[in-house]
Amino acid sequence: MIEVKNLFKSYDGEFVLNDVSARFEQGKCNLIIGRSGSGKTVLLKSIAGLIEVDEGEIWYDDQKFSHLNTTSRQKIRKEMGVLFQGAALFDSLTVEENVLFPLDMFTGQQRKEKLDRANFCLERVKVTGSNDLFPAELSGGMKKRVAIARAITLNPRYLLCDEPNSGLDPETGIVIDNLISSLTEEFNMTTIVNSHDMNSVLEIGDNVIFIYKGCKCWEGSRKEILQTDNEALNNFVFATNMAKQIKN
């Protein structure tokens, strides 16, 4: 479980996060949705510890992450898998080396053991026969899959995904979403997905948090989202005229 309490973050006097509190349950896909510039990425990066908040607390189970020093944070980070918007694969390493990286860094396993684990993770995300390719030789969807494989290599307890299907076609996007959802169930991870894609919300949103102008504006499940009378959320969800007509 990850919990954030009363987070505040401002840049040049303007609040990007304004008193945001939320609880992200284990074994569920928790979605943070909102318009571009609403503060989703700042919230996710704050949770990952890449951005320091001005005020507030971030808890990973019973550990107060926001108040830990670098060394103690590293222990939690080793249990964290993060999928970045652009995949963030190391472009000087091959697919296999990318997935092996956390194993090389943090385990004392034999080479064969590590290779078996890396291949298992790659098979799990349905990337086979591409071990020797470099990230530049992969399609967008493949990069995301490899990044997921790298993120789950060490059996993380927490999975953070920043817009996992941005730049992908809707069909591939759904494949990635379903992959994240099934891995969450399989490994019983606490998963947080940042998205502004309604397909993702309706496909995997067990718990959805809507961020509007830096504030948490709404929280509920994917089913409840369709019946809400929250104006800001309705404007976001039913953005097109056609969608508005269907809603009405």
Binding site: G49, R73, R77, M80, F84, M105
Partner: protein
């Protein structure tokens, strides 16, 4: 950022970079890769430039020695001392600042803007140590070798110009190269090169590591890295020369 803040941030980054690495086997592997990337790949440029500069110094020195009372072997002495004292350390370092420095700054800059450094951090890896330390170690180990290579190739360049362009008799040139030789000068050149290696790699890493923005900023930081490294090399040259050659 003010200059003082930048200096502070630079030293904090270096403190992180020089902290204990996660695994020495990975540090070793990364250092070997960096030796190949920054060291071995710099062989051609160092060889070509040193060869021509050695030849040119020979021709120019001979051209400027008009007094018939001065022995011809002084051309060899001048070439050797020019290469040893200044060219093969400082000038080669300035060339490497352009080649290696810009490469380091743009590599780290691209890693920053494509979130690869963030990816390392969230994995719990000390990204500064993982990325910067191997580059510094590789340069400290290998740049002195490039300096020695430059001295040898430069002297050979002078010899070839004597043979091919008939500047002075080759035997006079070789006598000059050996005349009044102080081995201490080699130590001086190598010591300077070690300092330059640290300057080039650490300053360029600093500029690349803290890039914000996109491709334009990566280009700008790469240029800044080369300019600042070059200025610091010249400043260090002055201080080291004053300190070592008293």
């Amino acid at each position: 950022m003010s200059l003082l803040t930048q200096i502070g941030v630079y030293f904090l980054l270096m403190k992180r970079a020089f902290s204990q690495p996660e695994k020495f086997s990975i540090l070793y592997r990364q250092t070997m890769r960096e030796i190949e990337k920054t060291g071995i790949n710099s062989f051609p440029i160092v060889v070509v430039i040193s060869l021509f500069v050695g030849a040119v110094i020979t021709i120019q020195t001979n051209f400027n020695i008009e007094n018939p009372l001065l022995p011809k072997y002084l051309v060899g002495v001048t070439v050797r001392d020019s290469l040893l004292l200044e060219f093969s350390s400082t000038m080669v370092a300035l060339i490497l600042a352009g080649k290696v420095g810009s490469s380091i700054a743009s590599e780290l800059g691209m890693m920053r803007i494509t979130e690869q450094i963030d990816a390392l951090e969230v994995m719990g890896v000390n990204s500064a140590s993982y990325l910067i330390l191997p580059k510094v170690i590789a340069a400290v180990l290998f740049f002195p070798i490039l300096c020695l290579l430059s001295i040898m190739v430069g002297i050979a360049g002078g010899y070839f110009s004597c043979v091919l362009a008939d500047i002075i008799p080759p035997s006079e040139y070789i006598y000059g190269i050996q005349y009044a030789f102080y081995p201490y000068y080699i130590g001086y050149a190598l010591t300077k090169m070690v300092f330059y290696a640290i300057i080039i790699t650490s300053v360029s890493s600093y500029f690349g590591y803290y890039v914000k923005g996109g491709a334009v900023e990566v280009g700008k930081s790469s240029t800044r890295a080369v300019v600042q490294s070059s200025i610091l090399i010249l400043l260090a040259n002055l201080i080291l020369t004053r300190t070592i050659l008293q």
